[in-house]
């Protein structure tokens, strides 16, 4: 029996919890508002400095160009009207030093500044040094000699800080007294000239001479961008507004605002969820959901939304100018047409191939159907650009192997042809051979799930196997068939690897290749790229919506009794001919391309047979894999893929648990976002990240490995999640409940029961994220920097700029690694999983 007070306590507690929660939520909301305000205020202060806008950069740049003149004027004035006393001596010393420095620099030596500094004596050391600096700067321009730098570095910290602070207070406030060392430099200057001069001095004194003073406008902008925010903060400190909070908010205003907004969104979302749930008890699972949602909002939704906004509001106001410009340009119009035609044709061809293959493999007594199944699925894990390379070798109009055979066979002249891969149909063919497995897998899976007695009922009703296919199997499969077909369409339309390898030499442009070209054109190009990306994104979103929402609802759920082996349709007299046909298909689509890649990698002259005289070499292999850059990019690929897969699988497991084991409201939100991410074309994801992750929104991961890893995760997280979710859905919750009833804690249950049961799926999920990340090309093409090249991108570069046999060696190397990974996966999961 509970004591009365305990019961009372409980009632009180129950009553109080919602109130406490509500108050806490309110406080958090207020806090987020305060943070946003602080960020906003910081931003305003920063904006006031005139460095945030393009005009600001230009103004300062113009100043910096003129500044040398200003400095020289100053120096002249100084030399012409020297003042008396100690100061004069100092200046003379500095001047003589300057002269010798000037001479030394001209003759290639370096001036020694220590003598002049030493002569200045203690207490004046700092001032002397800055004067030196100033004069040297005048003489040598942006190049400051190393001994001067050394002297600057040796200035006591306190003195240096005071100098900078004084400088900054002058920058911030024209009326503020100039620091002693700067008086001469800036005294007679006014307005912008003076500002520029003070900035120059500051940059120099802050040890960032190269970035602060330069002839290169981009480097200068970068220098200002990097420093200006902090400058403002220092200014404020200099103006006695010394507070760590101000410093923080001004120098990181965007990050602060971002944090505030995220907090506000989280709090509002949480309140909404709690309100909908009518339960105000804090559940730590929400924190998990919110963390995942935050990640996805920031790195996935924000870039996409920003891109759309940028496309429609290029200059701040609504305008369709970008689209008009883009789509009146014939090249883009062609690209658009090509993308749609290629996507559509690939979809039709791919589905027409996939359905009969899936049916033959799943429902008939075709010879070797298990083997064929594995073979068709295998294509799924081959990087598409490798296929494109193979088909280029086979269907090149001049030296393509198949063309050579055909000419031999039909006695054609040596003129190019008859087939040419550098055309739209050529591209469609290659796309089809690489994307039909998508439809094949979707349809096969649906066929496996379909209750075989539905077909048996048709047979027993008197329908022949073929009639059954058309009256029962096909109509029942329609939703899966369409979603498989749409998947092929969107994959083909957003593919970059194949069009970039086949399209560029053949001048067959697609939206993806145009986007990549535009991005390489700089900031105006970025704007144009968004216009194209929006087209691709809308296409993908419509398809995602149709297949995930419309079709999913139409999916027939069939009550399956005991698992009966489906009745196998006897092909009888057709068994041998059909098997031969399927084998032929496999040889053409899979065997020949792989062999081509393999043999090409050993050739000296790609136009001749591998066995021709003096045409066999292993040099391609040794060269490619002997290069440091190959090894570096391989290392990068392995690292990025491993990090993406590991972080991804942790998120996937969390999500699976939330989806399958809890009824927490809102668990569908991250699920939706993850689905959205995987449905977004790679090029679009990468472009969005480029446009938003350069500091504009408080996060700057541009040109780092992080931006690549983030992109990989957004695109491929789904692959891992689906595996874990389906594994978890097959473990009945009672298994876990039973463990908990037996006295095991939640954690112990996870480790002892759930963990071991779903481990194979977790491993599989990890590999399913890892493998596509490992050979990724489309996103890396846009996101790489010189230190973050990956193996896929390296291969593309070799293929385009170096040597085809060498890149074939590399491609085969990649294939071997992927096959090896697949083997490991198969072993690890005891044969349950492989791609």
């Amino acid at each position: 029996m509970k004591s009365v007070s305990a019961v009372q306590n409980e009632i009180l507690h129950r009553d109080r919890t919602p109130t406490i929660t509500k108050i806490a939520l309110g406080c958090l909301l207020v806090l987020s508002a305060v943070i946003i305000f602080l960020g906003y205020r910081g931003q305003r202060l920063y904006d006031a400095s005139g460095f945030s806008s393009e005009a600001g950069y230009q103004a300062v740049y113009a100043l910096s160009r003129d500044v040398d003149e200003a400095w020289k004027k100053q120096l002249r004035a100084q030399l012409e009207a020297p003042e008396g006393g100690q100061r004069e001596q100092l200046e003379e010393a500095a001047l003589s030093l300057l002269k010798s420095a000037w001479e030394a620099q001209k003759s290639g030596g370096e001036a020694d500044a220590s003598a002049a500094v030493a002569s200045a004596g203690d207490g004046r050391r700092g001032e002397m040094t800055y004067k030196l600096l100033y004069t040297t700067y005048l003489a040598a321009g942006p190049k400051v000699s190393s001994s001067i730098k050394k002297e600057v570095a040796a200035v006591p910290q306190g003195e240096a800080d005071a100098f900078r602070a004084a400088l900054l207070s002058c920058i911030a406030d024209e009326g503020a007294p100039l620091p002693q060392a700067a008086v001469k430099a800036a005294e007679s200057l006014t307005g912008e000239e003076r500002q520029a001069m003070l900035f120059q001095l500051f940059f120099v004194s802050a040890g960032s001479t190269e970035s602060g003073v330069t002839e290169n406008v981009n480097a200068f902008k970068k220098g200002v961008r990097d420093k200006a925010v902090q400058l403002r903060a220092f200014c404020m400190i200099a103006r006695q507004e010394v507070s760590w909070l101000s410093q923080l908010t001004v120098s990181n205003s965007r990050t602060v605002m971002l944090m505030g907004i995220i907090l506000a969104v989280d709090v509002l979302l949480l309140s909404f969820l709690m309100m909908a749930d009518k339960s105000w008890i804090v559940d730590f699972k929400w924190i998990l959901i919110l963390a995942i949602v935050d990640f996805l909002l920031l790195f996935q939704l924000l870039p996409l939304v920003y891109m759309v906004i940028k496309a429609f509001l290029p200059e701040g106001g609504f305008s369709l100018e970008t689209f008009k410009r883009l789509y009146t340009y014939p090249l883009n119009l062609d690209a658009l047409k090509n993308t749609l035609i290629a996507g559509f044709a690939t979809m039709i061809l791919g589905t027409l191939l996939a359905f009969p293959l899936a049916w033959l493999v799943g429902r008939t007594n075709l010879y070797g159907k298990k083997f064929f199944r594995a073979l068709f699925v295998l294509t799924y894990m081959v990087p598409p650009y490798v296929g494109a390379m193979a088909w280029l070798r086979l269907l090149n109009p001049n030296v393509g192997t198949i063309n050579q055979w055909l000419r031999l066979l039909f006695g054609l002249s040596d003129a190019p042809g008859p087939l040419n891969v550098y055309t739209l149909p050529g591209m469609i063919w290659v796309l089809t051979t690489f994307y039909y497995p998508y439809a094949f897998i979707t349809i096969s899976r649906a066929m496996e799930k379909m209750d075989p007695s539905l077909e048996e009922a048709s047979r027993i009703s008197g329908a022949s196997p073929l009639k059954t296919v058309f009256t029962v199997t096909l109509p029942m499969m329609t939703p899966s068939l369409i979603s498989g077909a749409l998947l092929v369409f969107v994959s083909a339309a957003s593919c970059y690897g194949i069009p970039s390898i086949i399209g560029s030499p053949g001048r067959v442009h697609t939206v993806t290749t145009r986007i990549v070209e535009y991005v390489s054109l700089g900031s105006q190009g970025l704007n144009d790229a968004t216009g194209l990306a929006v087209f691709l994104m809308v296409l993908a979103l419509i398809i995602l919506f149709v297949s995930d929402v419309v079709l999913a609802r139409r999916q027939y759920i069939t009550v399956s009794g005991k698992s009966v082996q489906p009745a196998i349709v006897d092909l009888r007299k057709w068994r041998v001919p059909v098997t031969v046909l399927v084998s032929l298909f496999a040889v053409v689509v899979i065997v020949i391309p792989f062999i081509t890649i393999f043999t090409t990698s050993f050739k000296v002259d790609v136009g001749k047979s591998m066995f021709a005289a003096a045409n066999f070499t292993v040099a391609n292999w040794t060269t490619v894999f002997g290069r440091t850059e190959t090894m570096n990019s391989l290392k990068n690929s392995l690292l990025f893929a491993a990090v993406s897969a590991t972080v991804g699988i942790v998120i996937a497991c969390t999500m699976s648990y939330l989806l399958q084991r809890t009824r927490v409201r809102g668990r569908k939100i991250p699920n939706f976002l993850i689905t959205l991410g995987s449905g977004t074309p790679s090029v679009v994801i990468a472009l969005g990240l480029i446009m938003t992750m350069r500091g504009e929104f408080g996060v700057n991961i541009y040109n780092t490995a992080y931006i690549i890893i983030v992109a990989y995760m957004i695109k491929y997280l789904m692959m891992g999640m689906r595996t874990v979710v389906s594994a978890m859905s097959q473990i009945h919750a009672s298994l876990e409940e039973c463990s908990q009833v037996s006295g095991a804690s939640w954690l112990r249950t996870m480790f002892k029961i759930t963990g071991p049961l779903i481990f194979p799926s977790i491993a599989a999920g990890w590999f399913l994220i890892f493998i596509p990340c490992f050979y990724e090309l489309s996103m890396t093409t846009l996101l790489y920097s010189s230190t973050t090249k990956t193996i896929g991108f390296q291969l593309y570069e070799y293929w385009t700029f170096t040597s085809q046999p060498q890149s074939c060696a590399m491609a085969f190397g990649i294939l071997l690694i992927v096959v090896a990974l697949n083997f490991v996966l198969n072993r690890l999961t005891k044969g349950e999983f492989s791609i």
Partner: protein, 357 residues
Amino acid sequence: MATVTIKHVTKSFGDNVVLKEFNETFQEGEFITLLGPSGCGKTTMLRIIAGFEKPTSGELYIDNQLVSGGKTFIPPEKRSIGMVFQSYAVWPHMNVFDNVAYPLRIKKASKAQIKESVERVLGIVHLSQFADRFPNQLSGGQQQRVALARALVAAPKLLLLDEPLSNLDAKLRESMRFEIKEIQRETGITVVYVTHDQTEAMAMSDRVFLINRGVVQQSGTPEEIYNHPANQFVADFLGKVDFFKGEVKNGRIELAGMNGQAISYDGPRSGKVDVAVRPENLYFTPQGELEGMLEAQYYLGDVDDCRVRVGDVLVRVIANGYEYAELKKGQKVRLGVRSIMVFEDDGQLEQLLKIQT
């Protein structure tokens, strides 16, 4: 209506023999039930008759025409059979009318004829008003009746039913059982019915084939196999039964562990025996042959389910419901025996009763 003749049919998947030497003839208009625990091979037999599986050896005739065996194999669609599947297998993309009309459309029957036949058969299964509905708008029982109507519409000579009632709830199962039996009686169709539920088998069948581990243990009318089981497995599988060890001595069977108490026996067996007693064949009477102590009783309404300790053995007795009030736990009782089944004790009882799945 059709006869089905099964000659030495054996079916194995790899090394796993699921059906051994099935050898039987189903007569015209007979209601045959293949009964047995799951995995016993009964569904395999049904699928062989339907033509979804080929026998490994042996022959199958429908109406004396060879349909499976040797090099001959007639595919399911050419066998003129109706079949109802455990999962109903009602096509979700067609409405009730189209589902039922399907076999007739395959046969290219005329529109009028299709309409007439479908309406007639929907009438039989009481679904006339649901013709336009789609399967997802129907309950499980209604879907099952659609499946039944579809199986009957083309007037097949043979109807196969694969555990058709196992996905229904208890009440519905009982009424459907009755309906199926009625339809069979009216149409006179030959029915092969597969189930693991002995009550279904008993209630509907003309002949029951009890199968275990791929072998027919016994066939016969429900009454025959219930009252005269061929072996311990049959006795055990049908109804409730307690087994006791015993020894025949001077026209009585002395039961092991019961302090030498014995029951009278005038059968042919001698020596060591297995005695199978159905609890409803024991009753309380002052003149009873066995003496024991009432250890527990459970009131189930119509009956009183009792446990009586006789010697060291606990014996189950199903008495009439009203006796519950007259008896008291711990009281001394005497048990009369209406009938017993006696089998030779070959030491294999445990092994025999084991159900292989």
